[in-house]
Symmetry: C2
Amino acid sequence: MDKYDKVMDLAKRRGFFWPSSEIYGGVAGFLDFGPMGTLLKRNIERRWRETFIHRHHGLVFEIETPVITPSKVFEASGHVDHFTDFIVECLSCHKRARADHLILEQAGEVQGIEGKTPADLDELIAERGVKCQECGGGLGKVTTFNLLFRTSIGPYSENVAYMRPEAAQGMFTNFKTIFTSMRERLPMGLAQIGKVMRNEISPRQGPIRLREFTIMEIEFFFDPKSPGCELIGEVSDRRLNLLTEKAVAAGCTSPSEVTVREALENKYIPSEWQAYFMALSSEFISELGAPPESQMFMAKLANERAHYSAGTYDQLVKLERWGWVEVSGHAYRTDYDLSRQQECSGQDLSVFRKFEAPRRDKVLLARPKIDQITDKALIGKIAAAIKGMDALRLKNLLSSGPAEIGGVTVRPEYVDFAEGEITVTGERFIPHVAEPSFGADRLSYLALECAFTEKDGRVVLSLPRSIAPVQVSVFPLVNKDGVREKALEIFREIRRSGLIADFDDGGSIGRRYARCDEVGVPVAITVDYQTLEDGTVTLRDRDTWSQERVPSKDLCCVIRGRISRP
Amino acid sequence: MDKYDKVMDLAKRRGFFWPSSEIYGGVAGFLDFGPMGTLLKRNIERRWRETFIHRHHGLVFEIETPVITPSKVFEASGHVDHFTDFIVECLSCHKRARADHLILEQAGEVQGIEGKTPADLDELIAERGVKCQECGGGLGKVTTFNLLFRTSIGPYSENVAYMRPEAAQGMFTNFKTIFTSMRERLPMGLAQIGKVMRNEISPRQGPIRLREFTIMEIEFFFDPKSPGCELIGEVSDRRLNLLTEKAVAAGCTSPSEVTVREALENKYIPSEWQAYFMALSSEFISELGAPPESQMFMAKLANERAHYSAGTYDQLVKLERWGWVEVSGHAYRTDYDLSRQQECSGQDLSVFRKFEAPRRDKVLLARPKIDQITDKALIGKIAAAIKGMDALRLKNLLSSGPAEIGGVTVRPEYVDFAEGEITVTGERFIPHVAEPSFGADRLSYLALECAFTEKDGRVVLSLPRSIAPVQVSVFPLVNKDGVREKALEIFREIRRSGLIADFDDGGSIGRRYARCDEVGVPVAITVDYQTLEDGTVTLRDRDTWSQERVPSKDLCCVIRGRISRP
């Protein structure tokens, strides 16, 4: 068994997670989380919320939008056209598979496979003799397969809707409403933690590639003319392992360690906010247990990037079986999405940028020439028609003769054009967006793999104390003479204080330590005869296995001290 | 404007919630939650988690299962066949509507409409002249419409799946795996907080009837032979407003106040665990701001209950526009779901009940009659075939002559049947289930409506302090002379302590009080010149509007004291 198998075995046996719907044979790409896994995942979400949202309250706000989304939103975002993978069908058994994965598995590493076209892949398949994995049969032509799960809303099947593949679009469609209710200030980040669905063709990496997972992402809106991050100073000296776009293009695979400051000075990272979030991500992933030296940020080449991105870094962590795996994505989405949603909805999603001082701008002005308009009843209508239109556009229109505007015929001789000056206090623009994005399920697996250690022939799950599912276990040494009752009393007291506590009265103390080490409980408390005499209990540490006597009245405080250590 | 309109206006203007995808004209039955609404909803979920799960850690466990679920699960549960509403189509404009709602709207109250058949409804429509609401046209025949959102998994469209309409089935399909990993103890509750989807035909009650919402529910598994609730003593004296099944059947509409003890003694509530959760629900809904006198529990009649339930109480709260609205459901699902999932999956989902003392049971025993089996090579095979089968079934089988069993022909004369005794240590059974179930979105609306008050011509949102989105607002009296800097310093200190704090430096202090009263901020802090001298700030209370000077060094402690009050 490699580490992945060991972790997955533990995960099922002890209530972390396992393939969904197992009693029906399971279904690839879906995971069920048990009691331990759910506590772990909620803790990861909580720490993400604290690190990325609450720390920035007033600047970043959590929102929540539905999973089921009308098709128009994803037509606008480009997902209906572009959110696709390459699929290929076996000509003899008709099994369908993801074309690029099949090639990588059978032909080995192919540089830049994410940027290939279907024709490129057909060629690779022919060249390298790639066959159906099931039956060895020949493969048909590579085509595209859209990864959106499709459904329809209400009793009319023509009302097509999709399960969202990212939470981002909910932030874009709501940007203007929230910007208004939050008093129109930029920068402003909107965040979501919620389910997303991607209909992967044939996922085969357990919790690493899921068809349904919990995304945690921020769309951070800023003025591209004031792109500075006010918090960058807090992270300038942090060191990141960076594999820049240039390095990737040159085929380099080992990252360089640079500070955030150097990365920005050398324009390795296109936006200060993106750099800020990358630094936070590095801190966050370290907190989950992946040491900095097993992390890197790799730039994606232009032809590998999602259709909306002008610059993306993937944060990768090295796992034992799966190699370098993406744990977060950092895309610079520019004004792409807001512009598209504005265009397709016809709603104004722009915001107003006030100039430091009002400006006098030279403009073309159009006025009705009243003396030329013989039918005096028309003057009002013509004045209104002229007023409702940009003067330059009007001039162009009239250069080819009379025009029908707002129900009246405006003749060239009716309008006088002249240069003038107006006071302009500002201008409208579409904000730019930096997006950090994480998957909570994959991170739950990551935390388990990083924490998984074996000691004296058994498993100790050295989970970071801030995310350990259960914080303390309470054991009565014996189940008689009032020891059990005392232990239950202490257990209830601990639980009332808000800590997640287990009570275990089965088997030897050694077996009980082993059971709680296996799910990463940081602290175990044993209640014995001495407790009845002097009120002290034995406190035992998961990682050092050291024991000490602690007065039971200080217990909650001592435990909180222990679990706030890294 | 009635209260509903006022609340919805506030909800949109101040970032609570509004119809989803508004820039595309909105889509009925979906809600977007803004910054304030998401904080509120998360707080409601947190309080539910604390009340129903964490308080019972070791007895109730949170789990998480996917929204997208293979069709087999909902075929087994009965949802594919029974999760339907009545639909009727207009013969002239072809608009479809929910038949029972149309009748209620046009013909007024109809007793027991939930239990009617399509034919009953056709009759009612004809009798009372119910017409299309859009065009006044005549209506076609009433039929059923399945409320499951449908999709398919992977690249084969025949792999049908549904969005789950309840989280419950994920608890049933995982029951056995979790029961095993949690050391096989009953009772055991599994809980989920997560999205569910119901394709309502034509929802028109805003946040009250959604097509996608967050369910919070527990499936509580217990041994029907030990149905006692160990925690019932904690709630026996609580008073509930109950409208029993008998009272409902008799057409009674006003509930009686009874204690939990009386309700159980008189068998108004079929299960102790159900009664326990009803008592917790009453406490929980009160905490959200609905006074006990505006709550009641109404029994559902047999023909109105969901197909899986042997007894259901709906908890109702009276709202201004919508009347009595369901805020939680308490179903006694018996062993229906586990039995169905066991039957359809072929997996054993039963658990073992150990007898207090082993029992000697009289049984029929079957043994091979070796002397009758002439082909001695067959003895072993025949012995194995006999052993692998229930003796009584074997006897019945052989009563009609020789039978083919496990590849050998067993002749009646080969087998000797005799009464014998065996030691039986226990028996297998399917646990029963009590289910409390809530919708977090509807509760968010409920909390707003209950908190909505007007005072001196403006809105004060008197949200319970435990769920207020923002806990404290910090104001600098002026934006000069170091006052703003001091206020920012205090604001950052408060935020670092983990409180959700706003900073507001715009407009008069009165306007700022009004702004934060409107979103229910319990405490406002004003920093002024005196703060620079003696370190005190003005602390102002949302509900009493009283002000006092407090040393800024004690601030976090004082604020926590304030917000822990009800």
